[in-house]
Symmetry: C2
Subunit: 455 residues, 2 copies
């Protein structure tokens, strides 16, 4: 691994050139070319690899030669990325990867998907290649790298069901999370769930002159804002009946452990460009991000949005709204309560439409298992520092699918840094993290090879 | 006039081909070409005409030879138009005028600006040409056709100030309003005012991952909706302190007169594509449109607005908000109260920015004047039907400027129809209204020639 650092960065640069934006129908060609390219990289690393069709974007499936008596690892990752907009905020174009110093002076590669998740998948590809160059991969390895993670994995569950037999494994590994801070690597033991919905308010059949008709018809944009404003109370809590019913309270021990990790809240505020952090009263920022649910508007659109003025009552108004869920909330219950509350509160004179884009339950991983101990040792080897146990505010819905469909627990070993700006302009991946992550992956295969064996 | 119907429609078609969208900086060339073309049309109609530069888009100034002892009329109109978006809702392209039957089977010309205001300006150009073909225009006429009406006439006041001497006139005429209904022509005696503002809420310096940071920072889109939702109470009234303080209550006689005009509210709802009309309790739809103030969101924009899902906390959120004002509200007071209320209500954790795009006071015209009586007779001649006295929900801010700067009262004689869809896709102008309007303008010059003479 240490001898192939430069070629690893070059290879990741190729990976990042594919504009594999899964939500954009116009990028289907980029998605397919990216999948084909990735399959070839697994082949060059010594695995058999195929591009598997699904009802949507394809899955790259790679496998080592199956040796009886060895444990089998299921590696999951994704090669699709978030949209890159707003493009004008990128220093270098999102699909023209550029290596430069980050604001703290560390070398990084800048591109959409650098950290989420191509760079982390790439660390595994490089670790597999290194094993097969020098010795022989010491475990049976199955890699499932999908192309629809950023749109809620709509075809993954069915594909897993149909391929349950060949996906049998002892433990799953996902590297799609992060270190706690530079120099403090981590293993993630909890993830928030997600409900993503679109709320549309329909009014007149066409935009109306706001002078001629203003006052005579309900304004869909006014109605949408009134409706969305009901979703929080004055304390910043989500105002949907039953929303908090299943939320697990944190133990005092857990809160103490997280307090010891320490967050420099003013530094985080400065990093994000806000005067101060903000949120639900009674919880630290870390607790709010890891263990409290949210309801955030992700996008608003209505009427005239160009420069200057246009005096219209818009025909419609829409919002994208997502809720992050924590143990033990259920995505299906939360979406049902959300839609019910909106329907009850919708003002007169307009028509409401609500659709769900995706849903995923939150997940917690045991903090005491043989696989976790292997992970802790591998991270120590890879990063040269002891990892901490953390949670993650984001959602990796596949953890739930892997458990429910394949019956396998997942080990979340992530290599990103908190300032990687995933989903934002100028996303990056730290080159030292790519190196340490590749070392960690290589060590992890070794550690896990001693685990209980499958048949 | 009756003998040049076909050539009038052809000429209007040329006028409508200019994409003279004043709010769009990319259309400045179209604006200039349109002004040059219009000046030539006035010249061909027998007037001296020039294109006058301003700090923004130019003004077309046309004048008849000044004959002492005759009254002088100031004709105001505008050759700029609203943006045509959303383009996909147009049956034929907005700047490729098409003559076809409207949904009720009447011939109309479809294009952006057909009714607002090019078609109505064109009726006057044709009336002037007809007079000069057959006899000699019986009044001194000054035409001021500006290119910035749809963006609030930012340079008109200064230009009028600088040209006060040459703009001296006895009465002003504007044709930028409408008939009450097909077969019921009208003269407009009241206009609402307008305050147009933009409300921006700024949060983090870049879009953030809603999983990693959700709950830790204030969401600007959530904050914007919360803020805008405070602008109305549960009764549909505008919830800004002092907003109604100066609103003139309608007299019982006025309400009775308007009731006699009659509005078919279900028919209007069907026309607009809404299940029912809606608005402030205690007032008919006509009263709400003509004599009650409003606060409408004209546009909303924030975060991700493409297809599918993107899980971000947007860096900012913005809304375009307009308020229609009625006698005796003052635009300056209303904007000040609006901004003050927003600043007081802005939630913590975000930064608020409010700017004013334009402002115009409402206006009322005397229902008993010599000029009005001339107008009533001219409309009877032009349309063959007695006109009614109405108000207009829209704003023509120049009426106030003409009064305050030039000291002249305005006669509002409009030819549009309520279903012309001004500011909307598929705007049209009725060909019978073009003909009757041209006849009305020609008769109006004759009627007004007997008015009290200027020096």
């Amino acid at each position: 691994v240490d001898q192939s650092v430069a070629s690893s960065v070059r290879g990741l640069g190729q990976f990042l050139r594919f504009a594999s934006v899964s939500t954009d129908p116009g990028r289907a060609g980029d998605i397919h070319r990216c999948a084909q390219w990735l399959a070839r990289q697994f082949q060059e690393a010594g695995l058999a690899a195929t591009v598997e069709p699904t009802g949507g974007h394809p899955i790259v499936l790679a496998r080592s030669e199956r040796v009886a008596g060895r444990p089998t690892l299921l590696l999951y990752g994704h090669y699709d990325v978030q949209p890159a907009e707003p493009l004008e905020q990128w220093t270098t174009p999102p699909f023209e990867p550029a290596v430069r110093k980050d604001p703290h002076g560390f070398d990084a590669i800048y591109a959409r998907g650098a950290s989420d998740d191509k760079g982390q998948v790439w660390a595994h590809v490089q670790a597999i290649a290194a094993w097969n160059r020098c010795a022989k991969l010491p475990v049976n390895l199955l890699a499932v790298i999908e192309g629809e993670e950023e749109i809620g994995s709509p075809h993954l569950a069915q594909w897993m069901q149909e391929n349950r037999q060949q996906l049998k494994a002892d433990v799953a590994i996902i590297s799609d999370s992060g270190q706690y801070a530079r120099g403090v690597p981590a293993i993630t033991c909890g993830l928030r769930g997600l409900v993503y919905a679109e709320v549309m308010v329909h009014g007149p059949s066409h935009d109306l002159h706001s002078g001629i008709y203003g006052g005579a018809v309900a304004n869909p944009a006014n109605a949408l804002c009134a409706l969305l404003a009901t979703l929080h109370d004055a304390q910043g809590r989500v105002n949907v009946p039953g929303f908090y019913d299943d939320v697990a309270e944190l133990s005092a021990a857990q809160r103490q452990a997280w307090n010891r990790l320490g967050t420099d809240e003013p530094a985080m505020a400065a990093e994000l460009g806000v005067p101060a952090l903000w949120g639900e009263k009674g919880f630290s920022a870390l607790e709010r991000r890891w263990a409290r649910p949210t309801c955030d508007i992700n996008g608003l659109s209505s009427g005239y949005q160009g420069p200057g003025a246009k005096t219209i009552i818009p025909a419609s108004a829409s919002a994208k709204v997502s809720m992050r869920l924590v143990p033990n909330q259920k995505a299906s219950n939360i979406y049902a309560g959300f839609e019910r509350a909106l329907r009850q509160r919708c003002p007169a004179g307009v028509r409401l439409e609500v659709i769900q884009h995706s849903g995923a339950d939150p997940s917690l991983v045991s903090e005491d298992s043989a696989a976790l101990r292997c992970g802790l040792r591998a991270v120590q080897t890879g990063f040269g520092a002891a990892p901490v146990l953390i949670r993650e505010g984001g959602s990796i819905p596949v953890v739930g699918l892997i458990k429910s469909i394949l019956g396998i627990d997942t080990l979340l070993v992530g290599f990103g840094l908190p300032d990687d700006r995933v989903h934002s302009p100028n996303e990056k991946f730290d080159l030292a993290a790519l190196h340490a992550g590749t070392r960690t992956a290589a060590a992890l295969y070794q550690e896990l090879s001693a685990l209980g064996r499958s048949s």
